[in-house]
Subunit: 250 residues, 2 copies
DNA sequence: CGCTTAGTTGAGTTCGTTCAACGACTGTGG
DNA sequence: CCACAGTCGTTGAACGAACTCAACTAAGCG
């Protein structure tokens, strides 16, 4: 279990951020970009499987994901693990730790991940000097809350088959918006991750995924889940999909 | 199903807010109080069982709970309901709708509830003029996220007995901090609510609660759950409890 | 007094679990 | 280059948790 995280002092200026041109994100003023650029302290690269943040830690940093896939999770004493949500480019991580002291969940990289590092001490000055960015951070927190609401509904009230369909459709939609697929719609995830997200055992998860595959909705391939029919998955889950909306990020 | 909500133009000044003296909340400066008082537009009273906010609505308001118990929930097409969290004094409701347009969950009163009404249009001016209060709103959103994380862990990975113990211990701790109990530790909730929170059927919920009662952890009484041993519940759930920390509210 | 809501209990069924074993693939060291 | 261990996915069988169906009690209310 690699925990080390190579720190690069390498720093792409925010004005040239590869994320900003994506139609999924809102546009930023010169003024905002300039401030964020000063707020940014450096970059960090994590290998697949590396732990980015640990439950219980008092992180001095706040991160924005630049590229790659990861996930947030919590564990019980005896090792039972629950994946709470997935993190993708544009997502802010470590906000809880920054605002309230201690992290209460861990974050792990699913693929190689690169992150922007921000200084937690400067967050208050962002609130004072750039209300629009402060509002954005609240927006991001409220959005995360929405997603957690939907996950809760899913785990609590959907059947195993619906749950699996929902999760994969969800990851697929997010990945599409962020332009994360090149040709093949491959989500870099193992069945163990799916099981730990859905609150199912790995055996039953496997059998459930086989049912989705039998209906030609997905195909399991080389360390990942290939989505064949995103709409079919949404229909199976009874899920409306994500809202079409420009979102902010820091 | 009562949906009407009697609107009072009655308005307690924030400086005399009954919540502010509670040790659970942080202190506020004169300046902050003055601003919040102007931000407040009125009060609203909801009967037990009344719907305060509806999924899909574009609410023009933001509320802070002044007194009473309520809950947030989402429903699937076919009527399956998932309770996401409970709302209690000091909680902000309608933030999602305010920031992102449309509410994606409903809120219902569990007991008679009174609320402060805020104008959604003035939220931006709060961000511009009072960074500390803006930070507080982010704090509240991040706190809600934490609670949802814990609920997700609970539903996904705890057994039925652990889940039930966790939920009741959670409601009990929150109620205690807010001084909501007078003598008897009675949580105003039905077994149907518990079932819809835990993602269980009502029959199995009943049998699970009986087990907790058999261990003298709770007792079911006149329209509610009486807590006999909060520590025992936490232990049974393997839950650490809420952090001891002053929290903000608006 | 009947009607409704909330809680209780038993019986039978379904869904999901654990246990166990095995195949395919990857990376590593001798 | 092969042997070996480790991870990931797959499958069958037996068990257990949670569900549905159904019937019944008790309390509250018009």
């Amino acid at each position: 279990m690699p925990t080390a995280k190579p720190t690069h002092s390498f720093k792409t200026p925010c004005e040239q951020c590869p994320l900003r041109p994506l139609p999924h994100f809102r546009e930023f003023s010169r003024d905002e970009l300039e401030f964020v650029s000063k707020f940014k302290r450096g970059e960090l690269a994590a290998d697949a499987g590396a732990t980015i943040l640990v439950e219980g830690a008092h992180s001095a940093h706040l991160f924005t994901v630049l590229s790659g896939w990861g996930f947030r999770y919590k564990m019980l004493e005896d090792g039972r693990r629950q994946i709470l949500n997935y993190v993708m480019p544009g997502d802010l991580i470590g906000l809880q730790g920054t605002i309230m002291g201690e992290m209460q969940h861990s974050v792990e990289a699913l693929s190689p991940v690169s992150l922007c590092i921000f200084e937690r001490d400067k967050l208050m000055s962002l609130y004072i000097r750039h209300a629009s960015l402060a509002f954005d951070i609240t927006w991001i927190a409220a959005q995360e809350e929405r997603i957690l609401d939907e996950h809760l509904l899913s785990i609590g009230r959907r059947t195993a088959l619906e749950r699996a369909a929902y999760l994969i459709a969800f990851l697929f939609e997010r990945g599409k918006k962020l332009n994360l697929f090149n040709g093949r719609n491959l989500i870099p995830i193992t069945q163990q991750h799916i099981a730990d997200t859905l609150g199912l055992s790995i055996v039953h998860t496997n059998k459930t995924l086989k049912k989705l595959a039998a209906r030609d909705l997905i195909r399991w391939q080389e360390r990942g889940c290939e989505v064949l029919d995103g709409e079919g998955l949404k229909q199976m889950a009874g899920w409306e999909g994500l809202r079409e909306e420009k979102r902010p990020f820091v």
